[in-house]
């Protein structure tokens, strides 16, 4: 029975996709299109709940659909599994997905082509479910690229504007660079272990690992490249901020809560292998830590509400990746879990704000929305406290565990800890800054560097028209706010939960993933002190933001700060010029190579040989064409002599030898 449920879980979103895409001609009205996708996701959600109850008691459920291909004894099959890892992700994808689909019914109400939007939405859910339910690398990879493709389609949803199309293309290409790594990494694993099934990779043979160390390290690093693509880490993070061109609910689901966490999911899937290679772990940890810091530094000076959230996502993803690099895969996944709720919440709040402000996205043009949008405001506050890591809210539990894992990590743990702490403080700062500017301070109209990222009506910002969003949008906000508060309690530290209620989530996940080893033990006092100090520092950071943007005239304060730290401000505001760097170092030279190949190699070398031959033949013909008969005779004579020599030589060499 549960096998059938499992097979049906991805089927319902697929059905919703097909219905929405095939009925598009018949002009389904917006609400119906939305309901189809919502119901598709919600049905899957119920099935996921039913199946996951079974899984929690009786262990993984498998369903094998058909053989895709086989090679020697490696079977590539279309095979789903609901195990400890998939349970978590499935609940997130279908649960948060349903909430966001419901929200979108309201948000997309006035748009055109809504059927298309909900079709892509359902396609995304389908691909994501393939990714998390796949029992082997192949199905995972199908979902992996499927989410990339649906993300591409949704980022370019308003394709009439070149900017959106470019952002979509950039996302797809960056992901494809990662996919290059995933394909090669997966092939490497397949050749070493003779299997692609995660069930087998969970308990790899140590002798095999040691015998193929170099190949496995290389393959693992290639997989890490894939992770940096999908989960927007250095060096491939550049696509995620641009991905905000898509409709905001989509950013909430894909570019914040679920899709971008696929990289961490992949690391968990192969955790039992990479945990044996400290060099791979170190690379992962440093990529995560540096990404987390870099993105937080950029977020501090951004003005577009969605860009700030995007960089915040990159930064939080860095946290999760760092946790994996510390060997604490379950903790990383725990942060994936809590982050999904509060980041979806924050994005939907942003969507609500953008909807209320008629597609204004510049936070300096907002302000004072606290009273006009009370539900949005209070739910946003919950999201803020969660992401900042205030004790009691979900983000606190996961973030704190990552920091203590870093702190107790032997070797360079203390550096990772400092970087992590610094980005936590920055996060608290820029999120508070956003809260102040959007909801609390009075709007100022002297800002000129406006960013109109959204298309459509350019009917400026008018404070009188701002209104709270309809309840179809606020209900999901409230649900997500409750989860953002409560989700952390499933993974409390020993200190707070005692022996029976602590680390429930982590222990559950560790039935699949590798268990963190080699960490120092922390005494209770140290742990408490660390928690308190971190919390105080975070509160200070929030207070600082409050002081700059609320207590003072923020425009003046901002200018004076900007003047003082102009260099830093410029660097942060220009996003460290990473885009420009790639453009000049990689893309343009490559394009030049293409030009060189076409203009020089193709014309003068490849075609040159052809031309040379033609010329030779022409010359020979012209020579024979001369009217003097003796010359013609000479020509024929030469040909006969030549042929005779050739034939004799050939026969002598090969036949009569």
């Amino acid at each position: 029975m549960y096998e059938n449920y499992l097979a049906l879980i991805p089927f319902f979103p697929l059905l919703a996709f097909l219905l929405n895409s095939l009925l598009v001609k018949n002009k389904l009205n917006n609400v119906k299109a939305g309901l189809i996708t919502f119901l598709g996701l919600f049905t899957s959600f119920i099935l996921v709940i039913l199946t996951s109850m079974h899984v929690m008691e009786n262990g993984p459920v498998h369903v094998k659909l058909w053989d895709w291909m086989n090679y020697k004894n490696i079977v590539f099959d279309i095979h789903f599994v609901m195990d400890q890892l998939s349970v978590v992700l499935c609940l997130m994808v279908t649960g948060i997905g349903s909430a966001i689909a419901f929200f979108s019914i309201g948000y997309m109400d006035h748009e055109e082509k809504v059927g298309k939007f909900f079709a892509f939405f359902a396609l995304f859910a389908f691909s994501m479910l393939l990714l998390v339910l796949g029992e082997n690398f192949l199905v995972l990879f199908m979902g992996w690229e499927g989410v990339g493709l649906s993300s591409y389609l949704l980022i370019g949803f308003w394709y009439e504007h070149k900017k959106n199309g470019d952002a979509a293309k950039k996302a797809f290409l960056a992901n494809r660079v990662g996919d290059f790594g995933v394909v090669l990494g997966m092939i490497g694993y397949a050749l070493v272990f003779n299997t692609l099934s995660f069930r087998d990779l969970q308990h790899p043979d140590m002798a095999v690992i040691m015998a193929n160390k170099e190949l496995l390290i290389g393959s693992s690093l290639l997989l890490v490249l894939g992770v940096t693509g999908k989960s927007a880490q250095i060096p491939l993070f550049i696509w995620l901020p641009d991905a905000m061109m898509g409709p905001t609910p989509v950013s909430a689901l894909m570019h914040a809560a679920t899709m971008v966490t696929a990289g961490i999911f992949l690391l968990c899937r192969v955790s039992n292998i990479i945990v044996h290679f400290s060099v791979v772990l170190d690379v992962i940890a440093w990529i995560g830590a540096l990404t987390s810091l870099l993105a937080a530094l950029i977020a501090v000076t951004q003005t577009d509400i969605k860009k700030i959230l995007a960089y915040s996502t990159v930064s939080q993803l860095g946290y999760m990746v760092m946790a994996c690099g510390l060997g604490a895969f379950s903790t990383g996944l725990f942060h994936v879990f809590t982050h999904a709720f509060f980041k979806a919440l924050l994005f939907l709040c942003a969507a609500s704000v953008i909807y209320g402000c008629h597609h204004e996205q510049n936070i300096f043009k907002m302000g004072g929305l606290k009273n006009k949008m009370p539900v949005t405001f209070w739910t946003f506050v919950v999201g803020l406290l969660a992401i900042a890591g205030i004790p009691g809210f979900s983000g606190f539990f996961s973030k704190d565990e990552i920091l203590s894992m870093a702190f107790t990590n032997p070797g360079n743990g203390i550096f990772l800890y400092s970087v992590g702490l610094l980005s936590a403080l920055l996060t608290a700062f820029y999120m508070t800054r956003m809260l102040c500017l959007v909801f609390i301070v009075k709007p100022s109209h002297d800002v000129h560097d406006s960013h109109h990222h959204h298309i459509g009506e350019d009917n400026g910002h008018d404070a009188h028209e701002i209104h709270e969003s309809p309840s179809v949008m606020t209900i999901p906000l409230i649900i997500l706010a409750l989860c953002s508060f409560g989700a952390g309690y499933v993974g409390m530290p020993h200190l707070l939960g005692g022996h029976h209620n602590s680390r429930l989530f982590q222990t559950f996940v560790e039935k699949f993933t590798a268990i963190p080893t080699g960490h120092h033990h922390l005494s209770e006092e140290t742990e408490i002190t660390m928690m308190i100090v971190t919390t105080i520092l975070i509160l200070c950071s929030m207070g600082l933001a409050w002081y700059i943007y609320v207590k003072n005239d923020h425009a003046r304060m901002r200018d004076s700060l900007k003047a003082k730290f102009l260099g830093l401000w410029m660097v942060s505001n220009s996003k460290f010029k990473v885009d420009e760097l790639y453009e000049t170092v990689i893309i343009k030279p490559l394009y030049q190579v293409g030009h060189f190949l076409v203009d020089i190699v193709e014309t003068h070398v490849v075609n040159g040989v052809v031309k040379l031959v033609t010329k030779g033949v022409n010359g020979g013909g012209a020579f024979l064409d001369e009217t003097k008969p003796e010359k013609l005779e000479m020509g024929i004579l030469y040909i006969i002599i030549g042929l005779t020599i050739l034939v004799t030589a050939v026969f002598n060499a090969f036949i009569f030898s």
């Binding site: 058909w66 053989d67 895709w68 291909m69 090679y71 020697k72 279309i78 990879f141 199908m142 992996w144 690229e145 499927g146 493709l149 370019g156 394709y159 009439e160 504007h161 070149k162 199309g165 470019d166 293309k169 797809f172 290409l173 494809r176 660079v177 996919d179 290059f180 394909v183 090669l184 092939i187 490497g188 397949a190 050749l191 490559l590 394009y591 190579v593 293409g594 030009h595 190949l597 076409v598 193709e602 070398v605 490849v606 075609n607 040989v609 052809v610 031959v613 050939v650 060499a653 090969f654 036949i655």
Partner: protein, 494 residues
């Protein structure tokens, strides 16, 4: 032996002759005749495959003795691989007839005559197993295509058709020379000049370095096939031919004619010259990998959409040649699958280009833009086919590329990694094409009144899109057809 074989085999030719005799005025009837003919060819191709007792074995269908002419015999035989390509060939014929249904020309009868005789020649070279028979049909393929490009082609058609003809025929001369030599050897061995399949396999030419007979014969055949595939750097005729060829020519050229080069390798090179294949394998693997990257980068900078697709073909064919020469069973299987996948996606792209060209009368991509607004049906189907060409998983393009890379990785990691860069490069040019065509603003005034494709026009693209997804999800549909033959195409030296 199949008594009716010769009739079945001659159907396309008979049909072609039928066009010659058809009344000139009634265009509709001629087109209908062509449509029926294409389905008949498809039906008998499928029937012939279904009748095979064992697709894994080469089954002799017909033998034709010529006692007065050096005692040569012409043998026709078929196995899973030739059956698969036979069906692909007939399927593409159906696609061509439907996609170019609206063609406007006063030489309609000539048009269909050429197409059907081209199909016939392809069938001939797929079924002939005596090397002289193969050679005759191989050369015969050139003539209809030469005329097709030369008569129905674009502005620069003469240059293109001559270049295409001379380059491929030039390669064939090398092949002919090698055949003469082999005949002489066969005479020494058997007292007969005959070169049927058993004889060539039993020749066992001596191999000892580059100047030894096996190596020279291998290179003579290889260069002839390289020119056909075409493998970098023998490709210079392909972009010209594609750009100038009418759509029917482009579809058949990309869809099936290029694969004949690969088929030639599989049938007449790999099982016959094992030591030479082993010795030169790495060189050819590198040529394949370079072709993948070269084709992708050159496709990227093109401004002409048809040229872009043509260069993308070079990139895709790189995968196939690599898979074949890796001699790893999985990669060989993938390469054969990729022949089918490329035979679906590239004709699909050419059909799309055809619809664009008949509407806008230009192939410059800068003259398109934002067409999704006015041609939504086209935009969706074109995207599905582009995704297939881009090798997105769950489409047929992915299956072949994945299998080739995986199989080659076991043999030569560097080459596999070079080839895998194709994963990164293919979306660069294909998305560029799609974005310039369908997305963005509809900024050209004259494009605002374009009509979307009709149901009839959409039909071939729908069929191709459905196949793209179906084969991506269930590749065994195709691999099952030729699986048993793989052992013949990977010699035991490995």
């Amino acid at each position: 032996m199949d008594q009716l074989f010769i009739i079945k085999f001659l159907i396309p030719l008979l049909w072609a002759i039928g066009f010659v005799m058809a009344p000139k005025q009634n265009e509709k009837a001629i087109k209908l005749f062509a449509l029926i003919g294409s389905f008949v060819v498809l039906a008998y191709s499928i029937k012939m495959y279904a009748d095979l007792p064992d697709p894994g074995q080469l089954t002799e269908l017909f033998k034709f003795d010529m006692p007065l002419f050096f005692n040569l015999t012409y043998t026709f035989a078929m196995d899973g691989l030739s059956g698969l390509l036979l069906i692909l060939n007939a399927f593409l014929l159906v696609m061509v007839v439907i996609a170019t249904w609206e063609i406007k020309t006063d030489k309609l009868r000539l048009y269909y005559f050429l197409i059907f005789s081209l199909i016939w020649a392809v069938n001939g070279s797929l079924l002939a197993t005596s090397i002289y028979g193969f050679y005759i049909f191989w050369e015969a393929m050139l003539i209809p295509l030469f005329i097709l490009v030369g008569v129905f082609g674009g502005e620069n058609r003469r240059y293109a058709s001559f270049k295409f003809f001379l380059m491929t025929a030039g390669g064939s001369i090398l092949m002919l020379a090698a055949m003469c030599y082999m005949s002489a050897m066969a005479y020494k061995l058997n007292g007969s000049y005959d070169l049927n399949y058993e004889v060539i396999k039993s020749l066992n030419l001596r191999y000892s370095g580059f100047w030894s007979p096996q190596s020279l014969v291998f290179w003579a055949f290889s260069i002839a096939f390289f020119l056909k595939v075409p493998v970098f750097p023998f490709h210079s005729w392909l972009p010209d031919a594609h750009v100038e060829a009418p759509t029917a020519g482009s579809i058949l050229l990309a869809g099936i004619l290029l694969k004949l080069g690969i088929y030639g390798f599989l049938r007449f090179v790999i099982p016959v010259y094992p030591q030479a294949v082993d010795a030169y394998r790495d060189i050819i693997l590198y040529l394949g990998a370079i072709g993948i990257i070269y084709g992708a980068l050159t496709a990227w900078v093109q401004k002409d959409i048809k040229k872009l697709v043509a260069f993308s073909s070079i990139s895709h064919m790189g995968f196939i040649i690599m898979g074949v020469f890796s001699q790893n069973p999985f990669a060989v299987k993938g390469a054969i699958f990729q022949m089918v996948a490329h035979g679906i996606s590239t004709p699909g792209l050419f059909i799309g280009v055809h619809y664009l060209y008949t509407r806008t009368h230009t192939k410059k991509m800068e003259m398109y833009g934002g067409l999704a607004k006015v041609m939504p049906r086209f935009a969706v189907l074109f995207f599905l086919i582009t995704a297939g060409s881009m090798a997105v998983p769950m489409t047929c393009g992915f299956v072949g590329e994945f299998m080739v890379i995986a199989g080659t990785y076991e043999i030569n990691k560097v080459v596999a990694i070079l080839a895998a860069t194709g994963i990164m490069l293919s979306p660069i040019y294909l998305l560029k094409m799609y974005h310039l065509t369908a997305l963005g603003e509809l900024h050209h005034e004259e494009n605002k009144s374009l009509s979307d494709i009709s149901v009839l026009e959409a039909a071939p693209m729908i069929v191709l899109s459905v196949l793209t997804i179906l084969l991506g999800l269930y590749p065994k549909l195709v691999t099952g057809m030729f699986e048993g033959t793989i052992n013949f195409f990977t010699h035991s030296g490995l």
